[in-house]
Assembly symmetry: C2
Homo-oligomer: 359 residues x 2
């Protein structure tokens, strides 16, 4: 088992070779670490900027065994990491962070909301539903309209369907593939906020200023940070983040999406136990961005500062929007971050741009 | 030959796999480029964060041929690139930047000072000397004490010897190995400054605020930037940078070391046709650091902004000073940059730390 804090020259493993893995790898190398990626796609965006990549499935036992022995610490860029993979990595001698509890909670929407309410982080009303009959039985309690989502595996608006009245329940159930699900009340929110926060191995918690997010088609379009927010609500948001992190005995960066009901009430929409798209603004708004922060936490280093020194509007470039790169490159206030993905499929996250203004 | 501006997904080659190559590679990957390193040392610091490394000597014809064909643009992290290597890369189809003129001038101290004076960038008095007799003949004109340096291949204070009076000429000549040399007058400077500047393929010039440098034992210890400087002197420094860049039809970032005589006079000490240790402060003081700036220039992108948003003191960590990493990591105003070098040999540049304060 590795000594902590992990000295420069140690190897950090990242499960997942997409853009989040890439930016984590870049942050780790700035701190003198070697990085190895595990990803089934050859020449992944993260693999191309790392010391090496193991090309294998995330549940390949041999690959996990090698990966766990090569790496001192293993972390991940997505939350749907199989629990068995985490166990195998730990057996091979790697510290894994964030840990299995955070993953389990984040992988199941019912467990997630149950956990959140237990630590005082209020959510919308919800109910676990496993059939059309279950949904019918819960509709009164949850209220109409409401959102039906698979308990597991959904992201960016996939695996979910709105229920507007009783008649379209069977249709919604079919739309999500008739799988174990959660029924969620509609939140009457005025805006969507998010918190990027971190907890170190010593239990220290650091919270970045909040971001205000705009989604379209279930996908994040922009984050504006620091968000305009009154001191009292911000304090409450930071307390929510600390409760969640402490409740999970968390190590690393977490992304917490909030509904702001506009009357001082914040509801937690969901948590992501990893660096988060709504935290990309920190790359150009803070001296220690979310990627370095995550590496610091998992490596047992002290957490870095989270103060903003600029106002940043982050915009995702999806699909062929990435072709704007040459126009954007000419604007002095726009900081481009390109992910090195070859194919600009429609809706694919290809890059983001941070528009930076003085605070 | 590559189309310019070079689109993301193109491959940038870097000759040299040390810390400068590493930080160039990181900047290139943020812009979506793939990077290949050529360096004789396996697993070089830059190779470990790049898509690939060709392990070969810098003058290996086969390696250069492959390198030139794989890369759209080739640049370098050191100035002593053999002219024949540059020719071979160009023949293989790669754009090379900065070009052969800048390299030739920077590789020979007599040519360098001759060029500088020709473009109005004043230097100390100097003379080319090839023997003890030559030195004796030039001493009156150059004045005592003066510095004897090899014309080629010296760096960080190596290959040079002071001449304090006539009697120690033979000793100084022996100390530098009796090679073609330059005799330089001593500059009565009050401080050492440096300029980091860039020129794009379109001829645009961008100059960062000046840095004030402190050396010890011929090696840079600290840079403080932006340096305290009156507007008139700063304007003159920027004009010097533009003359040098235009005179070389330069493409990329250049480092220019200056002697400030304290009476408004600036003399150019030397130029380095590459990113420069005295420009590391830009990583935490500017939104577009010298590494991204260099990649932008060589890739034919528009130059980025050079304004400082923070006051930065950069300190090199040499040899076992790198062991301070855990103490420094705990200080919120200190930004660590570690190079991933395994062996902390005495005097070896292992890392630097930027101390960041509001302007």
């Amino acid at each position: 088992m590795a000594d902590l804090p992990l000295p420069p020259g140690s190897t950090i493993g990242i499960l997942g070779g997409g853009q989040l893995g890439r930016m984590l790898s870049q942050a780790a190398s700035r701190l003198g670490f070697d990085v190895v990626i595990l990803d089934p796609e050859e020449n992944s965006p993260a693999g191309r900027v790392s010391r090496g990549q193991i090309v294998a499935a995330y549940d390949d036992p041999t690959a996990l065994n090698v990966f766990g022995r090569v790496c001192d610490v293993v972390t991940f860029e997505f939350e749907n990491v199989p629990a068995a993979s985490v166990e195998r990595l730990a057996e091979a001698g790697a510290l894994v962070a964030p840990g299995p509890t955070a993953l389990a909670v984040a992988q199941d929407r019912v467990d997630e909301k149950t956990f959140l309410n237990a630590v005082g982080a209020t959510t919308v009303k919800f109910a676990a539903v496993d059939s059309v009959d279950d949904i019918m039985a819960e509709l009164d309690q949850v209220g109409l309209p409401c959102l039906l989502k698979t308990r597991r595996d959904g992201y960016d608006g996939k695996g979910q369907a709105w229920i507007r009245d009783y008649t379209n329940v069977p249709e919604a159930w079919a739309a999500i593939g008739g799988r174990p699900a959660i029924l969620e009340a509609k939140a009457a929110f005025t805006r969507e906020l998010s918190i990027i926060a971190a907890r170190g191995r010593d239990g220290a918690v650091a919270v970045y200023p909040l971001g205000e997010n705009k989604h379209a088609g279930g996908v994040l379009r922009t984050t504006n940070a620091p968000a305009q927010i009154d001191a009292k609500t911000e304090k409450r948001a930071k307390a929510i983040a600390a409760s969640i992190l402490d409740g999970l005995a968390y190590v690393g960066v977490i992304g917490i999406e909030l509904f702001d009901l506009g009357n001082g009430t914040l509801l937690v929409n969901e948590i992501a136990p990893r660096v988060h798209n709504t935290g990309h603004w920190t790359q150009d708004g803070c001296v220690c961005d979310q990627f370095e922060q995550h590496i610091r936490a998992v490596a047992g280093w002290p957490l870095g500062p989270t103060k903003a020194h600029a106002q940043v509007e982050m915009t995702n470039l999806l699909g062929d929007e990435v072709e704007q790169w040459s126009k954007l490159a000419a604007k002095p206030d726009q900081r481009l971050h390109l992910y090195g993905k070859a194919e600009a499929r429609p809706g694919r996250k290809m890059a983001h741009v941070n528009r930076v203004r003085p605070l």
